[in-house]
């Protein structure tokens, strides 16, 4: 951290202070930050949204916009001071010295230029070569990032590529000028887990091949554990802890780091053994930065005279391990290792929801005036599973698997094309919301994915809850309504006065709590939760998951939990359904899904999950190609085209049998269960490296 610039420091941040200036004054985004990144290493910066990690990246690139400025300190890249560089030398550093891979590849590429045009301008600019040579170089780099048919890709526009392909193009663009330092800004956020794993493999491979130094920014501790040697943890613009990756995960010394790790779902624990340990409160705004320790107001060990006066200096806590906490030695005394455990609900035997051969087909219309074959998108096909009272049924799958379509049919936002969907004895498969009775509506409610869209920005947080109470006939008079809203806000642990605020003044976590309160207004028997925490920071996610489990423990509702996050599903689900291209691949009790026998698709999914523990090694297993379009589905097994264990033509031609395995476990595959059972588990713990052994 504040170590003197080492001679081999490729990038040295020396007491950097970054401010944003506006008409009301300057706001400090980063007060005083020092990092040294040595040539050849892979450094990870981790932190939740608003911690200043992206600001730091832009400061390094000299691109803070008209309002941002480096108010103090130096950023030295390869011996040159970026913070004081003139435009010409800045242009040399950008692209050539240090280039960047962006978070959203859809936005990072110019929609009106072909990939080729966007790539060739890099060597033409930095190496002064002609267009033909540049194109050859671009072609080569596209081969290096494993894009099939690079010549065709060069002539395509960005919208003609998939998200994963676009991110490979962005990586190729960043590597074209042979940069010394590659900055990666959440490059896999928003990608499917199997695509993410492949991109991370690529990053590791290219790093070895070109010897590029990496600065990797992510909110995902699992991703950081996979690609980084050294990790820095940021909170409110401060680097609160820095250590080699094994050491940080094994011995977090800062209370924030420890809490962060305690919020991350793991594959070796679940709701019966562990409760997440969320961070109380929420980060202050940049303008409201507390005196002393920036984490002070949320820290269990806050001691005003020691923590709340002066900026906290960095202290060494081991070899290469620095921590900004004056009480790090006393951490175990004030910081609990486990939250008070709340027993989760016990699933009953009473069936609440059962789908039988449920299908949803979208007619995409005819080609032209009735000529040509009409096209159909099969979103769901022959879904048959059930959920019992008090159970959490998780439906997992990547984008395009049809899991959200099922959720919307269940909630009544769409109707099914065929099959039955029994909920509490009624068939709701062709009963969208406007056809359901108020009782049926109240019994099945939904929590949505996007906290920013779940509440109407024009109405107060309590408004839609009040409407629901009124519509469902639970309360009518103004007094009753207010009392019930207050009660529901208490249930989701929100202060009742927030009911009168508009959503613009609530954080993402708060909005999601309001959404949960709204869903529970009619005392539902079945809650459909469509990725309710995927847009939230990990510490907020942990708190919401705890809350859902607590509410369920009290009222015994059944929850259908849609998610792409296998680790989270491992934590909270009782039973799991794995979907691929609209069909069920595998289902069973949660433990049976996470151990052999695996469906080959589940196996690949598990092998791709980023595990927030560098001591866990996963079997290497990657899927080839992209998920096929749900418009022209294969005749046989949906997964056949990408299956690493494909038997032969039978997989393409015949739908796989639904094979029963012990414990109500079902695998839809042509490979016999006994053969599927003969695989090694995906996850294996390896020896902790000596350097990261616990010193205490």
């Amino acid at each position: 951290m504040s170590a003197p610039p080492a001679p081999d420091g490729l990038l040295v941040l020396d007491h950097v202070k970054v401010e944003y200036v506006s008409s009301v004054g300057a706001v400090t985004a980063i007060p005083d930050l020092s990092i040294t990144i040595r040539a050849g290493e892979s450094y990870g910066l981790v932190g939740e949204s608003g911690c200043g990690k992206s600001t730091l990246l832009m400061a390094i690139m000299g691109y803070l916009g008209p309002t941002g400025r480096i108010a103090n300190g130096r950023i030295v890249f390869d011996g040159a001071d970026v913070s004081a560089a003139d435009p010409a030398s800045l242009a040399r550093i950008r692209g050539r010295g240090c280039s960047i891979v962006y978070q959203d590849p859809n936005a990072a590429l110019n929609p009106t230029l072909t990939i080729g045009k966007q790539l060739i301008e890099v060597p033409m600019l930095h190496e002064g070569v002609d267009a033909k040579t540049a194109r050859a170089k671009a072609r080569q780099i596209l081969t290096d990032v494993h894009l099939p048919d690079p010549d065709a890709v060069l002539d395509r526009y960005p919208h003609q590529l998939s998200g994963g392909q676009k991110q490979r193009v962005v990586i190729a663009m960043a590597l074209l000028a042979n940069p010394k330092l590659l900055l990666l800004d959440e490059p896999t956020t928003g990608l499917d887990v199997t695509v993410e794993a492949a991109v991370l493999d690529l990053v590791n491979e290219l790093r070895e091949k070109y010897g590029t130094t990496l600065l990797y920014i992510s909110h995902n501790l699992g991703v950081i554990a996979k690609v980084c040697d050294r990790v820095g943890v940021m909170y409110l613009g401060d680097l609160v802890e820095e250590a080699p990756v094994h050491e940080l995960f094994a011995n977090p010394r800062h209370p924030y780091t420890r809490r962060l790790l305690a919020c991350v779902p793991r594959l070796d624990t679940d709701k019966h053994t562990t409760t997440f340990l969320p961070i109380p409160g929420q980060p202050p705004s940049l303008a409201g930065r507390p005196r002393g320790c920036s984490f002070g107001p949320r820290c269990a060990g806050f001691d005003a005279p020691r923590c709340g006066v002066a900026p906290i200096p960095e202290e060494p806590a081991g070899p290469g391990h620095g921590v900004r906490c004056v009480r790090w030695r006393e951490l175990d005394q004030f910081e609990k290792t486990d939250a008070e455990h709340v027993a989760p609900a016990t699933p009953g035997v009473e069936q609440v929801m059962r789908s039988a051969d449920l299908s949803k087909v979208y007619d995409l219309g005819n080609a032209f005036m009735g000529f040509g074959s009409s096209r159909q998108l099969i979103a769901n096909e022959d879904l048959s599973f059930q959920a019992n009272k008090g159970e959490i049924l998780a439906i997992v799958g990547e984008s395009g698997s049809g899991k959200s379509t099922f959720a919307r049919i269940l909630a009544g936002l769409q109707d099914a094309s065929a099959g039955k969907l029994m909920v509490l004895g009624d068939d709701l498969s062709r009963m969208p919301a406007h056809k359901r009775t108020l009782e049926q509506l109240a019994a099945v409610q939904m929590v949505f994915q996007n906290p920013d869209a779940t509440l109407n920005p024009s109405h107060t947080a309590g408004f839609s809850i009040g409407r629901a109470l009124k519509k469902f006939g639970i309360a009518q008079s103004r007094k009753d309504l207010d009392a019930r809203v207050k009660e529901l806000f208490g249930m989701v642990r929100l202060s009742p006065h927030l009911a009168r605020q508009r959503p613009g003044r609530l954080s993402g976590g708060q909005k999601q709590r309001v959404a949960i309160a709204r869903a529970f207004a009619g005392d539902p028997k079945l809650l459909v939760a469509d990725e309710p925490v995927s847009a939230l920071d990990v510490s907020v996610q942990a708190a919401i998951v705890n809350l859902l489990l607590q509410i369920q423990a009290r009222n015994g509702a059944t929850i259908v939990f849609i998610s792409h996050d296998l680790a989270l599903v491992r934590h909270l689900a009782d039973r799991v359904v794995v979907m691929y291209l609209g069909r069920v691949m595998e289902m069973g009790p949660v433990s049976s899904i996470f151990s052999p026998p695996y469906h080959p698709y589940t196996e690949a999914l598990l092998a791709a999950v980023p595990v927030p523990d560098p001591t866990v090694k996963q079997k290497h297993l990657r899927l080839e190609g992209e998920p096929p379009s749900p418009i022209n589905v294969p005749l046989g097994c949906r997964f056949a085209a990408r299956c690493p264990r494909k038997l032969g033509p039978v997989c393409d031609e015949t739908p796989p049998p639904e094979q029963a395995a012990p414990d109500g476990h079902m695998i839809a595959c042509h490979i016999p269960v006994a053969v599927l059972a003969r695989v090694t588990p995906i996850f294996q713990r390896v020896q902790t490296p000596a350097g990261a052994a616990n010193p205490s």
């Binding site: 230029l113 890099v122 919208h159």
Partner: protein, 337 residues
């Protein structure tokens, strides 16, 4: 692409039908006026009544509309040219041909003799104006939007707002008061003949300026807004952080994307221009299409109004077609279907 053109062509014809019926309904709402307007205020009521009957004005609106359509398509003879009426309306092209817009009661001449020369004069005026509006708006819009909030941006934006706040008749008054009355540099009217001592080109300056001022102000603001939005996009950041110089970022990456949104607007300006032309031609007594429409409307010259509307609409809809095709060319994500 072929299917697309057919589809658009069909919708163009459909729109023309609907619009011509609309105009017909409005102007012939009270058909007794038609006969009166044709014969003029000094005709006897009995003469008006005879004409009313002979023209079949007592028929329902739909029948009269079909009859008018039949004349236009050359399926029916123009009833006004019937010598039995004694009106002496004669079209050298005959009384039955495709594109027969009928007889103008205002100018006492076939519509086809009246309309095309005036359209040509207006096309010259609007064409010159359009040729100036587009490059000027693009240049100033890009310059302003390139650096949002800069001094240049603020200046251009304020001028843009002011320009759109001055209607053509007001800017005409201001310009005439200054350049004609005070300085005496330019002619105050543009009859397009050099009898008054002013060369024709000098008569074009003020009308063109009036049109350019009003429309360019609007387009500049559109281009500026779009450009400012594009400059905040992530792909512009990508381009900058590749190390590209600012000029290349703007020219290669920003401008084309910034053109996409205002492109439609620019072509809609033709529609605006047609409106502006009516007023401008009034201000400068310019012998064009716009003034003719006004006179025809005030006089109640149905044949002329119908013809003018159809022509104006065709121009407007064709530019929309051009704008859609151009939009697809600019934006590779759009496919015409």
């Amino acid at each position: 692409m072929g299917g697309y053109i057919i589809k658009r062509g069909a919708s163009l014809i459909l729109t023309l039908f609907a619009a011509s019926f609309l105009v017909f309904a409005v102007t012939e709402f009270s058909p007794s006026n038609v006969a009166r307007k044709t014969l003029g205020p000094f005709a006897l009521q009995s003469q008006v009544d005879i004409l009313y009957e002979k023209l079949g004005l007592q028929d329902p609106l739909a029948v009269r509309y079909t009859r008018w359509l039949g004349v236009l398509l050359g399926l029916k003879a123009d009833p006004l040219q019937d010598p039995a009426l004694g009106l002496q309306f004669k079209d050298p092209r005959g009384d039955k041909y495709f594109g027969n817009f009928g007889y103008s009661t205002l100018y006492k001449a076939p519509v086809n003799d009246v309309i095309w020369s005036r359209l040509k004069a207006t096309a010259a005026l609007a064409g010159i104006a359009f040729a100036l509006i587009v490059p000027l708006s693009l240049l100033f819009g890009v310059l302003a939007g390139m650096r949002e909030g800069s001094g240049l941006d603020r200046t251009i934006s304020v001028f843009g707002i002011i320009a759109t706040s001055v209607p053509e008749f007001a800017s005409g008054v201001f310009l005439v008061a200054f350049f004609v009355v005070t300085l005496g540099w330019l002619p105050g009217t543009s009859p397009l003949d050099s009898g008054g001592g002013w060369p024709i080109w000098s008569q074009m300056i003020l009308p063109v300026t009036v049109l350019v001022l009003y429309d360019a102000g609007y387009v500049v603001r559109m281009v500026r807004g779009s450009m400012a939005e594009v400059m905040n996009k992530a792909y512009i950041r990508t381009a900058v952080l590749k190390g590209l110089p600012m000029r290349d970022v703007v020219v290669r990456h920003a401008v084309r994307n910034a053109m996409i949104a205002p492109f439609t607007v620019i072509l809609l300006q033709i529609n605006f221009l047609i409106s502006g032309v009516v007023v401008t031609e009034m201000v400068f007594a310019y012998p064009g299409f716009g003034r003719m429409i006004l006179d025809a409307s005030l006089f109640g010259d149905i044949a002329l109004i119908e013809a003018a509307t159809l022509i104006a609409l065709t121009i407007a809809i064709l530019t929309q077609l051009v704008s859609d095709v151009g939009y697809a060319v600019l934006n590779p994500q759009i496919r015409l279907a």
